[in-house]
């Protein structure tokens, strides 16, 4: 396909916007933990950007978007991104944009997905264990699942398509990653919350957010970046992108209201944490559906997501698992809701490449496909994450000591404290040589 500069312009901008989501997530999560853990919480996101981007360059892009013929994973090997470079400036690919722009855009999805998981294991995770987990998890879970869902293969002159992922080729509709990103991360989050166990004092000691303005900064940046995520997934500047964009906005807005209404009736007062959480729930739920439903459908999905997730975040107290920042309640639940909703509200009047859901006379076919995708991504991610987490737990260990957790993970893992507004009496020494004993104690 010949390259179109307008489409390229939008995908470049969208890529930058999606990158910003991961720092945004770091702030959203960071503000929610206690002041003694804010740095570690943010570090998990930042280090994930580092790891995944480098792995993507080496083999990740190939594993996700190469062609093994199986539909289960892409190609194994080191050359894929290199060949993408060589095909510049015009790619021979599916979209009217440089293949490197496509690759960069998809990289940002690979970055944020594992970062999402970190919210489930706040305040207690060894950084080195997290680094190892992320490295393996993107390799054996994310890259393959991205291939399943996002790789639409190569269309040949005779109309045949080869190299598509097995879910994509079955006509599963997931515009921007309800399955590969949110259900995937949510399932892994649940697995890790179970593997790591509860924080010291969970459901007994207050663990209130230490900096709600920081949470809202994160939510604001997430919302902004998500337009790149969803509307950028059109991989061009066109009507579909515009549809995805406006649906993203109205669903998120409705979800914000939905969450606040539940709070008003359940707790007596709507909260700013609820507004931020509702917005994120709406963003999650509309992600798969944003270019397959009409705006009124987006409002419905958003409103339902806000309300349902507001109720779902309490489940961890009932079932007794410490999904610290509600990755399950928001990303897993919201992701499932959005994927399934397409089965009802999908309509070809807004997108001829989509399909009609139950309410548009499409019968149960689409619903079945969507359910298949939900179940298979959830099961695959949960099982592998649980096994991987357990192995790490029993080898190098996944948690810091209880003492370090109580006095604060920032100090224990990073020798830093988030804030210093008052007196920090002490002395100074520069450290130009190698690690001293004191540093290890």
């Amino acid at each position: 396909m010949t390259m179109n500069s307008g489409d390229t312009a939008w995908v470049l901008a969208a890529t930058a916007m999606v990158l910003l989501m991961t720092p945004g997530l770091a702030f959203f999560y960071g503000g929610m933990v206690r002041a003694k853990s804010v740095l570690n919480m943010m570090m998990m996101s930042f280090v994930t950007i580092g790891i995944v981007s480098v792995l993507w360059t080496i083999f990740g892009y190939g594993l996700a978007f190469g062609d093994s013929g199986s539909g289960l994973y892409g190609s194994i090997g080191l050359s894929h991104l290199a060949s993408a470079v060589n095909s510049m400036p015009n790619n021979g690919g599916v979209y009217p944009i440089p293949e490197l722009a496509f690759s960069a855009f998809q990289l940002m999805f690979a970055v944020i997905t594992p970062a999402l998981i970190s919210g489930a294991i706040a305040d207690r995770t060894k950084l080195v264990a997290w680094v190892i987990f992320v490295s393996i998890w993107v390799t054996i879970v994310y890259f393959p699942v991205a291939h399943w869902v996002f790789d639409f293969g190569t269309k040949h002159k005779d109309g045949s398509i080869t190299g598509a992922g097995w879910l994509a080729s079955r006509g599963v509709l997931d515009f921007a990653g309800g399955t590969a990103v949110h259900i995937n991360a949510g399932a892994a989050a649940l697995a890790l919350a179970l593997v790591l166990g509860k924080r010291v004092g969970f459901a007994r000691t207050p663990m209130k957010p230490h900096n709600l303005p920081l949470v809202l900064i994160g939510a604001g940046l997430l919302w902004f970046g998500w337009f790149g995520f969803n509307a950028g997934s059109a991989l061009g500047a066109n009507g579909l992108a515009a549809l995805a964009l406006i649906n993203t906005q109205v669903a998120t807005a409705a979800a914000l209201l939905g969450w606040l209404i539940i709070e008003k009736f359940r707790d007596g007062h709507p909260t700013t944490l609820g507004a931020a959480s509702g917005a994120v729930a709406g963003l999650v739920a509309i992600t798969p559906a944003c270019a397959f439903v009409a705006p009124w459908g987006a409002v419905l999905i958003g409103f339902a997501a806000g309300a349902v997730c507001a109720l779902a975040v309490g489940l961890k107290y009932k079932f007794g698992f410490d999904d610290s920042l509600d990755v399950v309640g928001v990303h897993l639940v919201g992701g499932i809701l959005g994927c399934i909703a397409i089965g009802f509200l999908g309509t070809t009047t807004v997108n001829s490449a989509g399909a009609n859901g139950l309410l548009y006379g499409g019968g149960f076919t689409l619903l079945g496909k969507q359910a298949l995708a939900v179940v298979s991504v959830f099961a695959f991610s949960f099982v592998i994450s649980y096994v991987l987490g357990t192995i790490i737990k029993h080898t190098i260990g996944f948690r810091i000591t209880e003492e370090a957790e109580v006095s604060g993970i920032d100090l224990a893992e990073h020798q830093e404290t988030g804030y210093e507004f008052g007196l920090a009496s002490g002395s100074f020494a520069s450290r130009l040589g190698s690690a001293r004993e004191g540093a290890e104690s």
Partner: protein, 112 residues
């Protein structure tokens, strides 16, 4: 010499300070505190998790005065800090051995 310690509601601080200055008290030291007592704390709710915060923000004022001035200072604080609602606070006084002004080394009366 007496040390008078007063725990009061934060928004009364400015009025108390003015009253003490009017009384000729030359200085005082103020710090933040939290109180527990008859006044109930409040409830906060985050994602459906309810936190009962028992501590209420207070301000602590410490004033060193000569023995003769103690009663009038206490009375002034009590009168100005009072809002007649639970949690208005406490004032207590104790004897101190001596007081020194760091800048000059002056002691006792001259140090105030």
């Amino acid at each position: 010499m007496k040390l008078i310690t007063a725990i009061i509601k934060p928004f009364r601080l400015e009025d108390v300070r003015e009253a003490l200055v009017a009384l000729g008290v030359p200085g005082m030291t103020v710090s933040e505190a939290s109180g527990y007592g008859r006044q109930r704390g409040h409830t906060e709710v985050y994602r459906g998790a309810e936190y009962t915060i028992d501590l209420v923000p207070k301000v602590r004022i410490e004033i060193v005065v000569e023995d003769a001035d103690a009663d009038s200072v206490i009375d002034a604080i009590v009168a100005t800090a009072r809002t007649n609602s639970i949690g208005d606070g406490k004032v207590w006084s104790s004897s101190i051995d001596q007081v020194i002004r760091v800048r000059t080394g002056e002691r006792g009366h001259d140090a105030l």
